[in-house]
């Protein structure tokens, strides 16, 4: 099972396909869940506090707008876990977490420069294209390792524990 970064990071279709073919999608939804269900935070609506754009400094300098760094504080940790990625070009409408194109440019760049397998596909505009879209994605997902090596499982557990302590 590979951890697959998807772009758009909140896509139903991509998250579903990745999971359907036995991998773990890295999505914004899980990041948001971590934020909004944390009782120690009270910064509605999505509990991003002024501290988060500071965490985003890891990915972009202070001169980069706060909205970009705030979004990167959610997306950056996912990119760090990325083992493979599917990037959809020209997705239809894009708001909210993916509503800022500067963030999206930076996100895609960081994923591409990571050196992991990346599939770049176009968003389908017809049934014909939808078939190619699904086929390409499925072929890509099937080419990824199914089983997670044992040592990574241990690592993951450790990192989860670390997160808890934070």
């Amino acid at each position: 099972m590979a951890k697959v970064f998807i772009y758009p990071i909140n896509s139903l279709i991509l998250a579903d396909l990745v999971e359907r073919f036995g991998h773990k999608p890295l999505t914004m939804m899980s990041q948001i869940r971590g934020k909004v269900t944390s009782l120690s935070l009270d910064s509605p609506p999505i509990n991003i506090t002024p501290e988060d754009p500071k965490l985003g400094l890891k990915y972009a300098a202070i001169e980069v707008p706060a909205g970009v760094r705030g979004r990167m504080s959610l997306i950056g940790p996912l990119i760090e876990q990325t083992e493979a990625a599917i990037i959809v070009e020209n997705p239809p409408t894009d708001f909210g977490c993916v509503g800022c194109n500067r963030t999206n440019e930076l996100t895609k760049y960081l994923v591409r420069s990571k050196g992991v397998p990346v599939l770049e596909v176009k968003y389908p505009e017809s049934d014909e294209e939808a078939r190619d879209f699904v086929n390409e994605i499925v072929a890509f997902l099937e080419s990824l390792p199914k089983e997670k090596p044992e040592d990574e499982k241990v690592e993951e557990k450790e990192s989860a524990e670390k997160e808890d302590k934070k």
Partner: protein
Amino acid sequence: MTETKKEEITKYIVISSDKVLPSDAAMKIYESEFPVTVKETCFGLIVSGAKDDVETLVEKIRQLDKNHIFVKDRGFPPGDERRCRASRGGGPRPGFHFLREEVEMLPAIGAALDELEEKECLMEKSKTKCRLKTSDLEKVIEEELAR
């Protein structure tokens, strides 16, 4: 990423099926023993509850029509005030528009998944060199013509 002891999760089940209605799927969940919260929406269902319960249930629902039922995580629990239209003062939450766009593409994605499955099935069958059943052939022809 906070791993709580009893992790609560929420999933969207988006139903793009001719066979299964959101209400059927909801009924299936009500009938089950799992203590989860279900909310019917125009796209399908939002299921919320303990991680294991939700995952098991969602998989069951998906199997009702697996190529036409889609699942994704949702950050917010259902009816969360921070996202609720009424308390936000009108205007849907930002993710709504994107979901709506994607939902329009689901019939095509579902058809592609059907086709993929059939191809695999055909390949398996061709290995055994058996003839295609006429009913299956008829289905393939119909689908080809319908394109």
